[in-house]
Amino acid sequence: MAQAYQKYLDPAVLNQVRNLEMKARAMVEGFITGMHKSPYKGFSVEFAEHREYVQGDDPRFIDWKAFGKSDKYYIKQYEEETNFRAYIVLDTSESMLYGSEGHLNKLEYARYAAASLAYLIQQQSDAAGMALFDEKLYGFVEASTANNKLMEMLALMYDHPPRGKTGVGMILDQLAERISKRALVIVISDFFDKVGAIRSGLDHLRHRKHDIILMHVMDKQETDFTFDRLTQFKGLEDYPQLLVDPRALRKAYLDEVSEFMSDLRAAAFKTRSDYLLMNTSTPLQVALQAYLAARSGGRTGRQSGTRG
């Protein structure tokens, strides 16, 4: 019987995205088996060419068969496979719990997205890792191609309770320090943090040569704010409550949200990060397929998004 956390591997989603190749925009260091070939040759399983032994080479890699034929010391060189390492960084703060009626809440949506991406990456024989965060970083899973790692990630997402405030900027800083090799960092969050702090974190990641995708998960009500009667808004993440006629506040609210999203996009652009707005009212497969198709075709810039 499948574990409960395996529900995040939604077949519908996976069917939509499995044929798509995740192509990193930058080569990553290291190599493991996978579809992303490394430009560096080394000692891997796939033979590339011979070269003469030079002092300092490890004698273990001398091709003795070639020595027997040519009496020269050749070192067997294997073509090193591209080492695609992706870290999925998932926001599990309280604000991710919001979901308007008839839709998944943002956290659930994000979990599906995270699980799908992790699966996809592993299916490509690339290494996927994961980190959860709110104000702190939790359960960091090193990138790996091993199947058990996928299960570990799913279990981590499933088990970790949503709590705390969103602290994206600080978390990105921590990740930059923690991920030693170049990797694709996919941040799935509502990014309800100061854009300045987020920008700082992104800069730090970029400085470490990491590639970044910001998957901005928003609920339709958060972007449209179509409430039509007196409502008491009880703030998540320790915000106070507010009783207000939303019709009267709608314009001001939308202005605020629009400004925030604009600033976030600008921060992504300036750090050459991809930005994908994911609206929970849009089916996940549609959102991912559209993004990945665009990414693989190179038709898109760094900005992308879906609206319900």
Partner: protein
Amino acid sequence: MMTTFLVGAGLIAVPIIIHIFNRTRYKRIEWAAMEFLLNAYRKTRRRLRFENLLLLLLRVFAMLFIAFAFFPDGVSNAAKWLLDEAGISFTGGAGATKPQHLVLVLDDTASMRYRELQLTNFDNGIKTANDLLSRLNDRRDRVTLIRVSTVQVAAGDEKKADDETLQRLNRDVPVIDVKKARELLGHALPGYGTGSLLPALREAGRRIASMDDEKEVPRLSIISDMQANAWAFGNPGSAEHQTFVNIMEEIGAKLQKHNIPVMWHVVGQNSTRNRGITGLSLEDPVVGVGIPNSLNVQVGNFGSGGAESSEFKLTYRIDNEEERPFSQSVSVEPGMVRTIRQDIPAFQTAGCHSIQIKITDQDRLEDDNTRTIAFDVVEAVEILIVNGAPDEDFSKDEVAMFKLLLDISSWYNPEEGRKKTINRVSVVTERQLSTTDLSVYDVIAICNVGSVTEEFAKSLYDYLDNRGGSLVFTLGANVNADDYNTHFWREGKGLMPARLDTPEGDDADVGNPKLHTIKGVDLTPGTPFAMFDENDLQRGLLENPTAMRRWYGVSTPAELGLADVVQSRTLLSIVTEGAPELVVDKPFGRGYVALFTSTVNNAWNHLWENRGLSLWMFSELIRYCSSRTAVGRNLMVGEHFTRVLSEREQTGRGNAIENPQSTTDKLVEATLPDGRRRLHYTRTATPGLYRLKYLATDDTGNEIVARTELFSVAIDGRESDVGRLGGTPGPGGAANPPTVLKNALPNLSMVFDQRSEEDAGITGKASTAGSSDIWVLFIGLAMLFLVSEMGASLYFGRRAE
């Protein structure tokens, strides 16, 4: 007021409650993007609060106007109450922050009972007064309420009015607070009395003059129908006009300091019409059993409205018999007054009787459509003539002609149309007087009697005190003025109404008579000479004043400064400058004394013969004396009824009066110094027939009515003339009251407020149209506010998008 306020507050609270209730009915959601929402709220909360307040106000106004539409008085009263409680004054204008002192002159004379549609002018006046009070601050301001009529119907239930209430109403007008004034107005009833506005304005002026400008702001409002009679002084030709102007200018000067105008509130329409009975008397005031008599009914067709039919339908009713129509049709053209004579059947029984006259057509002032007269019917009038100068020659005898006139029935000839009389005349000489029982006589005439003995004088004083009859003095050559003054004048304390002066004049000028107009003589029905020439009361009857004064002049009490002692009055005088009185009279004891300053001999007969007249004047005087009790029974509204009872008239169980409302009142009884009882009744504020019942005890000890006396109370005929000061406006018409007043008081700052139920739609049962218009207006406003509220909601909503 509190209830009204609570209801009003409840209505106004409805939208607030709905508003608050709606604030409690909201959706609760947990929200993630709270920072954006809070930022948005911080930036917009001022605008939101303003919009919320505006919406709430619109709803409140909507409810307020709906409430106004259905309960206009209640809401305005509640609002006033609320503002008063908050210490906010309604009164605008200069000095609004100072206490206001409103002097309110309210016309409550009978003409104010004129009914326009459903409401009387008095009703409209009360509404106006309440409107004025509503502009004052209950806590701060004061009111002086001056009612014009000196005869006021008691506040509250007039049937239960008592003397104390009437006295309270009639004593000096107090300064009262607004609530008290409102309470008094709430109980005020229109009176039936008459009166000029001038004394009320004088009192208003006195009150305003005494106000301290630093402490209070004077205001004057005059509410009246501007009836011409009550405002006669407003006409420039009136003797009192200058007094009126002076009073108003003094008031105006005082008000001008505060920049406040005199407010005139003219109630009712300029166009008026009314038919009324203005006078009622008997042709012969002495009504004898079996003697035919007639009624003289004075009717008027008043007002300026025109279109009132000149035909009158009149009926009369004797006692409790059925109504009978007048024998002839009665037609009085608009603007005219006419006296109608109606023969009545001879009475067959002696005692108190009454006759009620009624105009059967309805009109706008119904109270003067009925009038009642009460009188005694007697078997005979016993007259004693004391002859001071007897002579066998008829033409030379002092009283032969006089007796002939009084005892006319002795030569009564129906075929010649001469009247039968009930007078039974006895003549005695001075010597026979001491053996004569005076108490059997109703009238005693002392004619040219010479010296007066102590015994003679005492018999006359006793007669007046005990019998209560009438005593007539006529003078002549035999009269000793000193004796008369000593015994009868007694420096004003005696029975004679004037002191005799030196005789003068002679008979020489009788051949050259000259007519003199009678002025200053009360010729209203009831006075002795009114019937003398009924077709032209202004026609002179004294042809030669010199001849009239040939014997004695008299000094009037006024000249002697004895007014407090002597109640004398002049009944008839010769209108030549400096000419003395001809007839002076006064009540004395229980009786009445008249002094005729000349003789009653044949010289008078000669004097009048050229005019076809004779000594009828004397017989009129005697007749007047004979009917005095009947005269005293027919009062005007407000006149007091008084009876002094002799010992034999006192029944022992007291007395009671049944008023026109058929309820029983008590009389004020007092014992005079000589032991006789005096009955006094002041509550004659309502016209109609009153019954004075003398109560006694029968053999079984039960209370019975031993005797009943009737008296009537009537509205002054002047109140029937509802024409206004200045007459009718319009083409060919005269000016209206404001125009007259503006012309009379050109320098006075005045504001005129015309309050007519018909013209201005004053609210009331009859003014359904006006009320409906207001209703529609307020509903319309309420709807407008509701639509505005909806529009505002939509606008704010869209703006948010």
